[in-house]
């Protein structure tokens, strides 16, 4: 009996495609898509905690570096912190983010009680009179601090950006030019003549002519071919991510890092809305997500991808409220042509903002059709939220990893909200859960005092 059980689980562990029998508990909302890709985190069956830690850093390290992580592991390795580590071992990600415990996982994937700041910062009231008497679990839950990302919340930044009007001039979106700058200069030569294809498909040809691909001269062969030899490329009926990646390398990387593509990146079939616990339109539940799900197969309409495509799937309260919200009305005005598109505020404006690469000599990983892997390139000159200030030589791409600016939501303040709004207004708005649900239709009902306190401390 024992041998039979051991044999069964050995088969599941080593051979079976479906490893759900091995799950010790449901994964968090961040990892549920890859919970059956055991080796994504458990990279070595014989390793200890360092194996898991290394897996965490492999996926999240770049984002933490971009976030100027306030509590990196290296801050806790000095032996003088030995007493603190006995309470919370902050050197290990899993100390706060334990997986397979969905029933006790808080927002941000935190599995610790919400008083975790208190253990190290309990004496903060002695140096900050404003902090005396604050609730022990209010540090990171009141719009004031985050554990990792405080780029929009640190004191000097609060002071520097205080006293601004709540609404400033609406920023204009810079055009994304990454593909135009970085795409291969030579396109594959297909066996089948593009002219013939165009004659056979009038409607598609019409859509293509109006698209950015048509304007740039990227014809049928640009996407509908496969093989590494550009002179002997074979016709490909259904181009996939690999073909898009050959020109849109940064967008593809972001897509694979985000919720829409992470399942694909782990080697599974593409995610469908029904895999998620969020609310979606019923007709979209079984649609596998890929580039053309949002961009269309031949028209590649980025305006539709920025609003219509999102709302054709997402059906939660925030999404449903968008079109009648102040932001949504700006989007609709741009769609009907009464405002320039650059002034539209769409779903993508906030959730897939533009990234400016100050260094135009970026070394993008070479991407070839058929090769889905994309080497991570840490671009020290990349920054979010400067699309509207882009310099002449800047390379601009659209962030396709919507998580990069989503959680905690204060991540969105600098790259997105402050393009048009004051810091104080943005902090207040993002701390108001009702306002988030109605898609910012109205004013914040509460005021977060962090900017006031910071300014007061500087003046004294």
């Amino acid at each position: 009996m024992t041998l039979a059980i051991a044999g069964y689980f050995s088969f599941v562990l080593l051979k079976a495609e479906d490893k759900s029998e091995l799950l010790i508990g449901e994964a968090s909302h961040g990892h549920f898509q890859i919970e059956l890709a055991c080796s994504s985190c458990h990279t070595d069956a014989f390793g200890g905690g360092e194996v898991i830690q290394s897996a965490c850093v492999d996926c999240h390290g770049d984002d933490l570096a971009l976030a100027h992580d306030s509590h990196p592991r290296k801050k806790f390795t000095d032996p003088r912190n030995a007493d603190l580590l006995e309470v919370i071992d902050a050197r290990q990600c899993v100390s706060c983010h334990t997986e397979h415990q969905k029933e006790q996982t808080h927002p941000m994937g935190v599995t610790l009680p919400e008083d975790y700041c208190y253990h190290c910062h309990q004496d903060i009231g002695e140096s900050r009179l404003s902090h005396q008497g604050l609730a022990f679990d209010s540090c990171a839950s009141a719009g004031c601090h985050n554990y990792h990302d405080n780029r929009a919340l640190y004191e000097d930044f609060l002071v520097e950006n205080s006293g601004q009007p709540w609404l400033q001039v609406v920023a204009r979106l810079a055009d994304s030019n990454h593909a135009a700058n970085q795409a291969p200069t030579r396109l594959p030569v297909q066996i089948a003549d593009s002219q013939v294809q165009r004659q056979q498909h009038d409607t598609i040809t019409g859509q293509w002519l109006l698209s950015a691909h048509g304007r740039a001269g990227v014809d049928c062969a640009g996407c509908h071919t496969q093989g590494s030899d550009m002179d002997q490329a074979e016709w490909l009926e259904k181009p996939g991510l690999a073909q898009c990646q050959s020109c849109h390398a940064l967008e593809t990387r972001g897509y694979l890092d985000g919720k829409h593509g992470m399942k694909l990146a782990a080697g599974f079939s593409a995610v469908t809305p029904q895999d998620s616990t969020l609310q979606f339109q019923s007709q979209a539940l079984h649609e596998p997500q890929g580039c053309t799900s949002c961009h269309g197969a031949h028209d590649f309409d980025t305006q539709n991808a920025a609003v219509g495509a999102c709302l054709s799937c997402h059906d939660d309260e925030h999404s449903r409220a968008f079109l009648n919200s102040p932001h949504g009305r700006l989007a609709q005005a741009a769609i009907d042509g009464s405002k320039p598109w650059a002034e539209a505020v769409t779903c993508a404006t906030c959730h897939m903002p533009r990234m400016t690469h100050k260094n135009p000599g970026l070394n993008f990983a070479a991407a070839t059709p058929g090769n889905l892997s994309l080497e991570k390139t840490v671009d020290g000159g990349a920054s979010l939220g400067e699309g509207h200030e882009a310099t002449e030589n800047a390379v601009i791409s659209v962030v396709h990893n919507q998580n990069l600016t989503l959680r905690p939501n204060e991540k969105m303040i600098r790259p997105v909200c402050m393009s048009c709004h004051s810091l104080e207004f943005a902090i207040d708005a993002l701390a108001d859960e009702t306002l988030i649900r109605n898609n910012f239709s109205g004013n914040p009902k509460q005021h977060i005092e962090s900017v006031d306190w910071a300014v007061k401390r500087v003046k004294h």
């Binding site: 100027h68 801050k75 000095d78 003088r80 030995a82 580590l85 140096s127 780029r151 000097d156």
Partner: protein, 189 residues
């Protein structure tokens, strides 16, 4: 008899093999080890402060901006204390053989105040006895450390003016050449 002889022979071989090991190494005296490390740290710290921050910062050519939030500003560069900590953190990623940190009984960042009894004792000693170092042993967690504390002296008016004017500094009358804090070096024994 044969069995006794065999046992004796094997014991002789075993003793012989044991004796064939490398001569016992005395190693470097922890005090010399930490003194040497401190010499390198002090040289680098002084050079960064004088040759980079002072020379190229606002008091010099004004082409770099030393700032706590240096990552967030164009041409920003690390403050000398941050540069020192960045070195300590980089070393910690390379070796566990020693650790070091910059601390003070008048810290701008309260996380850099002394925490252990040995740190408090050492920092008070070097402040009260200019020019002298402090050495001791302490147990942190389940490890015993040789702990050395060296004076960190204001080598430039960039040090004193920044600390004296900072809103979080508990002391605002530092003078050039004065002990502002200490470098704590630990070696696990």
């Amino acid at each position: 008899m044969k069995k006794t002889l065999m046992t004796l022979a094997m014991a002789t071989v075993a003793v012989g093999l044991t004796g064939c090991g490398e001569p016992e190494s005395k190693g470097v005296d922890p005090k010399i080890y930490t003194d040497s490390l401190f010499a390198v740290m002090k040289a680098d710290r002084t050079n960064y402060t004088k040759l980079v921050v002072k020379r190229l910062g606002p008091a010099g050519a004004n082409v770099i901006k030393p700032d706590e939030h240096w990552k967030d500003i164009d041409n920003g560069t690390l403050l000398p204390a941050q540069m020192f900590r960045a070195g300590a953190e980089a070393v910690a990623e390379m070796t566990d053989d020693f650790t070091y940190s910059l601390q003070s009984i008048w810290p701008i960042n309260s996380q850099n105040a002394p925490k252990t009894d040995m740190e408090k004792k050492g920092l008070e000693y070097i402040a009260a006895n200019p020019g002298e170092n402090f050495y001791g042993e302490e147990k942190l967690g389940d490890t015993t450390y040789f702990t050395a504390v060296y004076p960190d002296v204001a080598v430039s008016d960039a040090c004193t003016s920044c600390h004296n004017d900072h809103k979080d500094s508990p002391k605002s009358d530092f003078q050039l050449g004065e002990v502002m804090g200490g470098v704590v070096i630990r070696v696990p024994l």
